[in-house]
C-alpha cells in the first residue's frame, strides 16, 4: 500500500471514536433509506403483481338490483375490456368462541369462469362447487383469527335464516388486501370476514336470480376511468345505482396507496435528516483535521504532491467513513426492512409478500451516503487545497476572539473567567456553534415525531370513543325499515338506552365536483351517537340544511351558505337542493349530518331507520348478543369496546417499534454531534486547558470549561429542538391529513420532557466520554507539542 494511503488508515484509526460516531449516523441514515425504500419497493411490486395476476378491477359500482342482460351494455362502454357482475351481501355471522355477532361479506364468484376480475388466490382447499349454498371460500385473515380450516364451519344469517356454512378453501383477493369494515378505524379480522360463494347459489339465497348488485370493470390501458364511471352511472341509474368509483377510491387500495405514499415520504425525510447531520459532522471534523495537519499538508505539497492529490487525500477520509457507515447501513436496513415487511404481513394480506432488496435501492442509498461524504468533505478539501504551502509552514494565526454580546450587555462582572472562555469559544466559531445546536435540535425533534403520535392518538380516541360514540353497540339493519324493528331491539334485556340511527346513501354534487357519502340523521339533544367538534363541543344541528365535516366541505369546495345538489341513492332516489348551514372540524372520516326530522322530511318518509345505537349492561351483554344473532333484520353489530381494544393493540404494536427506534436514533444523533464537537473542542484547547492546569486549575475546573461549552450547546439546542419537533409534528399532521382521518397537533408536556431528557442523557454520556480524556491529559506532553 502506498504511504499516503497508509496515512489515511492510520489517522482514521487514531480517531476511531469520532469516526465511529459519524459512521453510526451515516449507518442510520442509509439504513432508514434502505428500510423504507426496500419496503416500499417490495410492497408496491407485490401490489402490482397481485393486482395484475388476479385482475384487480379499475372501476367498481354497487346497485340495488340490476338484471343480468345489462352486463352486455357495460361491455359496449368505450374503454371497457372486461365486465364482472356479482352479488355482494352483508351478513351477520355466528362463529364459535365469539359471543357477539360478527360481520361478514358474502361475495359471489362465477366458479365456472376462468378469468374472473378481483379473483381469489386460493391458498388452501378448493373453490366452492357450483350451486352449493353451504360452501364458502373464506379470506385468510378471518380464517386465522378463528382458527378455521377447510373442513370447518360457522353460521350465517342469510336472508333471515340461520345457515351453516362449510369452509372449503382459504384465499385472498386483491380487493381485500386491507380488509377493513366500512366505518371502522382498523381492520379486525376476528369481527369482519370476507367470503366467497358460487354465484348461482348466492343469487338464489338472496333472491337475486337473473340479477346482480355489484359491478367490476376492467379498462383497456389508457382508457379514461372518469368517462367509464359516468357511462356506468347512467346505465345503473334506473336500477338504484349507488355510484361508481375508480380503483383509487377502492378502500383497500386507498389504504395501501396511502401507506406507500407515507413510506416514500418518510423514506426521504428521515435519511435526509441523518445524512445532513453526518455531512455537518464530517465537515467539522475534517476541517479540524486539516487545521491540525497544516504542517503535514505543507510538507506534502513541498514534497511535490499536487493539490489534487492532497485534496483527494482528505476526501478519502470522508468517503471511507461513509463507505463503512454505508455497508453497516445496508446490512441494518435490510434487516429492518425484513422486519417491517413482517409487520406489514399482519396488516396487508397478500398471497405472497417477499422482502426484496433491489440493487437500485442499494445503489441509491449508497449514493446518498456518498453525497453526504462529499458535501461533508468539501469545505475541508477546499481548505487543504487552498492552503499555500509556504504559509502552511507557519502556525495558524490564533482564532479571532471578541467579547460576546452577552458580555457587552453589562453582565460581564458576574461571569467568571471560565464562563467567559466558554462564551467566547462558542462565539469564535459561529457557524459550527449554530450547526451543532441545529444538529442536537434535530434529535429532540425526532423524539417528538415519535412520541407525538401517542399524544395525538389519545385525543382522537377520546373524542371518538368518549364524546362522539357514547353507545356501546352500533347496529345496522339489512335494509332501512320502519321503527318497529327499532322498538324490538330497544326492548331486549340488557339494553339500557337506545337511539335510532338513520344513514342515507347520497351523492353530493357541487358544480362538477361530486362525492359519494352518507348523511347521518342526528336527533336533537342526542344522548348516544353525537356530533362533537374538535374542541370537544357537542354540536346541535340546525333544524334545516346540511352540516358537513370541514374535510368534505373542502373536497367539494363549499362553504356555509353554499347550495349542494343531493342525489339520494336509495328508495325513490329523490334529487334535492340543500344549503350547507355549517361545517365542523372532525378527525375521522368526511361525514355529512342532518337533523333526524329534517332528513325524514327530505325523504318524505315516516320513521324509517337504518339501525340503532345501544348502551348495554355489560353483565347481560352475552345474552343480548345471542338474541341479536337471531334477529333477521340485524345485518351488522359493531362493538365500541372491541374497536377500542383493537385500535389500542395495533397502535401499541406499531408505536412500540417506532418509538424504540426513534429514541435510539435521536441518541445516535446527539452522541454523534456532542461527542465530535467535544473532541474537536478538546483538540483545539488542550494547550489552553493544560496551561490552566499548570496554573493551578483543578480537573473539575478545566472540565467545566469544556463541558460547559457542551452544556451551553445542549441547553440552547433543546428549546430549539422542541420547536423543531413541533414543526415536524405539524408537517406530519399535514402528511396524515386524509379523507379518512386527521390528527390534531397536540404535544403534551410529557412528550416535550421525555424528548429533552433523551437529548440531555445522550449529551451527558458523550460529555463523560470526553471528560475521561480530559482527566488523562498529560500536561508536560501537551505543552511540549508545538501547535
Amino acid at each position: 500500500m502506498r504511504a499516503i494511503q497508509l496515512k489515511v488508515f492510520r489517522n482514521l484509526w487514531r480517531l476511531k471514536g469520532q469516526v465511529a460516531a459519524i459512521a453510526v449516523v451515516i449507518t442510520v441514515g442509509v439504513a432508514m433509506f434502505i428500510t423504507y425504500f426496500s419496503t416500499f419497493d417490495s410492497l408496491s411490486r407485490t401490489q402490482a403483481t397481485f393486482y395484475e395476476r388476479y385482475r384487480f378491477a379499475d372501476v367498481f359500482a354497487g346497485v340495488k338490483r340490476a338484471p343480468n342482460h345489462l352486463a352486455s351494455r357495460f361491455e359496449s362502454i368505450p374503454g371497457v375490456a372486461q365486465v364482472d357482475t356479482r352479488v355482494v351481501a352483508e351478513v351477520a355471522l355466528d362463529v364459535e368462541g365469539m359471543s357477539e355477532p360478527v360481520s361478514g361479506r358474502l361475495i359471489s364468484m362465477d366458479v365456472a369462469r376462468t378469468a374472473r376480475l378481483n379473483d381469489v388466490a386460493l391458498l388452501r382447499g378448493r373453490l366452492p362447487e357450483p350451486g352449493r349454498t353451504d360452501e364458502v371460500l373464506i379470506g385468510e385473515g378471518f380464517a386465522l383469527a378463528h382458527g378455521l380450516d377447510p373442513g370447518g364451519s360457522f353460521y350465517a344469517v342469510i336472508n333471515g335464516r340461520k345457515r351453516e356454512l362449510d369452509v372449503v378453501g382459504i384465499g385472498l383477493s386483491p380487493e381485500y388486501v386491507y380488509a377493513i369494515r366500512p366505518g371502522d378505524l382498523m381492520p379486525d379480522d376476528s369481527r369482519f370476514g370476507v367470503m366467497w360463494m358460487d354465484h348461482k347459489a348466492l343469487a338464489t339465497a338472496f333472491d337475486m336470480e337473473g340479477g346482480f348488485n355489484d359491478i367490476a370493470l376492467q379498462l383497456v390501458p389508457g382508457a379514461s376511468a372518469d368517462a367509464a364511471i359516468a357511462s356506468l352511472d347512467r346505465l345503473l341509474e334506473p336500477y338504484g345505482g349507488l355510484g361508481a368509483f375508480p380503483r383509487s377510491l377502492q378502500i383497500s387500495n386507498w389504504y395501501l396507496d396511502s401507506e406507500l405514499r407515507q413510506l416514500r415520504g418518510f423514506g426521504l425525510f428521515v435519511p435526509v435528516v441523518f445524512l445532513s447531520v453526518a455531512a455537518f459532522l464530517l465537515n467539522v471534523v475534517l476541517r479540524r483535521i486539516v487545521a491540525v495537519q497544516r504542517e503535514q499538508i505543507a510538507a506534502l505539497k513541498a514534497l511535490g504532491y499536487s493539490n489534487a492529490q492532497v485534496g483527494w487525500h482528505y476526501a478519502q477520509w470522508s468517503l471511507l467513513i461513509s463507505v463503512v457507515g454505508g455497508i453497516f447501513g445496508i446490512w441494518l436496513g435490510s434487516w429492518m426492512g425484513r422486519g417491517m415487511i413482517g409487520l406489514y404481513n399482519d396488516y396487508f394480506r397478500f398471497p405472497f409478500l417477499d422482502y426484496r432488496l433491489t440493487t437500485g435501492v442499494v445503489l441509491t442509498a449508497t449514493l446518498f451516503g456518498l453525497a453526504a461524504a462529499i458535501v461533508g468533505a468539501l469545505g475541508a478539501v477546499r481548505q487543504a487545497v487552498r492552503l499555500p504551502p509556504a504559509e502552511a509552514m507557519r502556525p495558524a494565526p490564533p482564532a479571532l476572539y471578541r467579547k460576546t454580546w452577552i458580555e457587552r450587555l453589562g453582565i460581564e462582572r458576574v461571569l467568571s473567567q471560565p464562563a467567559r472562555i466558554v462564551l467566547r469559544n462558542l462565539k469564535s466559531h459561529p457557524l459550527r456553534t449554530a450547526a451543532s445546536i441545529v444538529g442536537i435540535g434535530f434529535s429532540a425533534g425526532l423524539m417528538i415525531i415519535g412520541l407525538f403520535f401517542l399524544d395525538t392518538i389519545d385525543v382522537v380516541m377520546d373524542l371518538q370513543f368518549n364524546q362522539i360514540q357514547r353507545q356501546d353497540i352500533t347496529l345496522s339493519f339489512v335494509e332501512p325499515r320502519a321503527s318497529a324493528a327499532f322498538r324490538e331491539v330497544s326492548r331486549l334485556p340488557g339494553v339500557l338506552d337506545a337511539a335510532p340511527a338513520r344513514s342515507l346513501a347520497v351523492r353530493l354534487r357541487a358544480g362538477h365536483r361530486t362525492r359519494q357519502s352518507a348523511i347521518l340523521g342526528i336527533e336533537t339533544a342526542a344522548r348516544l351517537q353525537r356530533v362533537v367538534d374538535t374542541d370537544f363541543r357537542p354540536v346541535d344541528l340546525p333544524p334545516a340544511g346540511l352540516v358537513l365535516s370541514s374535510k368534505l366541505a373542502e373536497i367539494l369546495r363549499v362553504r356555509p351558505g353554499s347550495t349542494l345538489t343531493l342525489e339520494v341513492l336509495e328508495g325513490t332516489r329523490p334529487v334535492r337542493q340543500v344549503t350547507v348551514t355549517r361545517t365542523i372540524d372532525e378527525y375521522m372520516g368526511a361525514q355529512a349530518y342532518m337533523d333526524m326530522n329534517t332528513l325524514h322530511g327530505l325523504m318524505r318518509e315516516g320513521r324509517i331507520l337504518s339501525g340503532a345505537y345501544l348502551r348495554v349492561d355489560p353483565r347481560l351483554a352475552d345474552s343480548l348478543y345471542a338474541r341479536l344473532k337471531l334477529i333477521p333484520a340485524v345485518a351488522g353489530v359493531a362493538l365500541k369496546s372491541a374497536a377500542m381494544i383493537e385500535f389500542q393493540r395495533q397502535m401499541d404494536e406499531m408505536m412500540g417499534v417506532f418509538i424504540f427506534f426513534n429514541v435510539v436514533f435521536a441518541a445516535v444523533i446527539t452522541v454523534g454531534v456532542v461527542y465530535n464537537v467535544a473532541r474537536i473542542a478538546l483538540s483545539e484547547r488542550q494547550h489552553e486547558l493544560a496551561s490552566l492546569r499548570v496554573l493551578g486549575f483543578t480537573r473539575g475546573e478545566i472540565s467545566s470549561i469544556l463541558l460547559g461549552e457542551l452544556a451551553v450547546l445542549t441547553v440552547t439546542a433543546i428549546p430549539l429542538g422542541l420547536a423543531m419537533g413541533y414543526g415536524f409534528a405539524g408537517f406530519m399532521v399535514v402528511v396524515f391529513d386524509t379523507e379518512l382521518y386527521r390528527f390534531p397537533l397536540v404535544i403534551t408536556p410529557r412528550t416535550y420532557a421525555a424528548s429533552a431528557l433523551v437529548v440531555l442523557l445522550s449529551a451527558a454520556l458523550s460529555g463523560l466520554l470526553v471528560r475521561r480524556r480530559l482527566d488523562h491529559l498529560d500536561l508536560i506532553e501537551v505543552l511540549k507539542v508545538k501547535e
Binding site: 504511504a3 514534497l303 511535490g304 509556504a390
Partner: protein, 238 residues
C-alpha cells in the same frame, strides 16, 4: 566545489510583500542572487531578514510579488500551480526546521511518500543508509529523537535524487552534537550526489561549511562572500 559552473538559480529583483490587513510587511526588497551547480551556500541572517521567504520562493512554495526567478533557464515566476508542483516533485528536496514528518508514517514510509511519486528515486532503504538510519527504519517519528527525525527528513528530501536541496534551519531545534550529525548528512549528500544545497541558518558558525555565504538583513542582501576555508561539520563549534 568552488569551481564556477552554470547557474542553477538566477533570481532578479525579487520583492515579496505580505498584505497583513492593515499593515504591509516587506519580507524581501529586491534581491538578486545566483546559485551555482553543486555548490553549498549558507543564507545567514537574523529572524525576519527574509531567509525563509527567499528559500520558499526558490523552492516553488511561494511566488514573489515582483521580480523573476529562473531555474536552469526556465522562469519559475511564470509557472502555474501544476508546473510548480512538478518542479518540486522532480527537482527540489526540502528539509524543514521542525522536520515536518508525517507522524502516522514510519521512517521508511515517510521516505516512501516521496519515492512513490518521483521519477527515478532511490529505494527508501538506500536513502536511509545515506543518513545512517537503517536500523531505525520502522520507527514512527514519535519514537525518534529530534536529530534522528531531521535525518529522516533529509533522507526523505534526497531520496528523489533532487537537483537542489533546500534546508530551512535544519539544526535550529537541535543541540550541537545532533546538529553536527545532521550537517554531516547534508554535506555527504552534497559530496556524493553533487546536489546544489542551500542552508538557512541564523547560526554564523554553520556558515563555515559553505562554499559561499550570503548575508541577509531586512529583506536585502547584505553581502556575499566566498568561503576560502571550508570546514567539515565535525570541526564546527557553537
Amino acid at each position: 566545489m568552488t569551481t564556477q559552473q552554470a547557474a542553477v538559480f538566477d533570481a532578479r529583483g525579487i520583492t515579496k510583500v505580505y498584505d497583513m490587513g492593515e499593515v504591509q510587511v516587506h519580507a524581501l526588497r529586491g534581491v538578486d542572487l545566483q546559485l551555482m551547480d553543486s555548490e553549498v551556500i549558507v543564507l545567514l541572517g537574523p529572524s525576519g531578514s527574509g531567509k525563509s521567504t527567499l528559500l520558499n520562493i526558490l523552492g516553488g512554495l511561494d511566488t514573489p510579488t515582483q521580480g523573476q526567478v529562473f531555474y536552469r533557464g526556465s522562469e519559475l515566476t511564470r509557472a502555474g500551480e501544476s508546473r510548480l508542483t512538478a518542479y518540486r516533485r522532480h527537482h527540489v528536496g526540502f528539509v524543514f526546521q521542525f522536520y515536518n514528518l508525517i507522524p502516522s508514517l514510519t521512517a521508511r514510509e515517510n521516505v516512501a511518500l516521496v519515492t512513490e511519486i518521483a521519477d527515478d528515486p532511490m529505494d527508501p532503504e538506500e536513502a536511509l543508509a545515506i543518513v545512517d538510519l537503517t536500523d531505525r527504519m520502522d520507527h514512527f517519528p514519535s519514537q525518534l529523537s529530534g536529530g534522528e527525525q531531521q535525518r529522516i527528513a533529509i533522507a526523505r528530501a534526497i531520496a528523489k535524487r533532487p537537483d537542489v536541496l533546500l534546508c530551512d534551519e535544519p539544526t535550529g531545534a537541535l543541540d550541537i552534537s545532533t546538529g553536527v550529525l545532521v550537517l554531516e548528512a547534508i554535506e555527504r549528500v552534497n559530496r556524493e550526489l553533487a546536489t546544489t544545497t542551500a542552508v538557512i541558518t541564523h547560526n554564523a558558525a554553520i556558515s563555515n561549511i559553505a562554499d559561499r555565504v550570503i548575508r541577509l538583513a531586512d529583506g536585502r542582501i547584505d553581502g556575499i562572500e566566498a568561503n576560502e576555508r571550508k570546514l567539515r561539520p565535525d570541526q564546527l563549534s557553537w
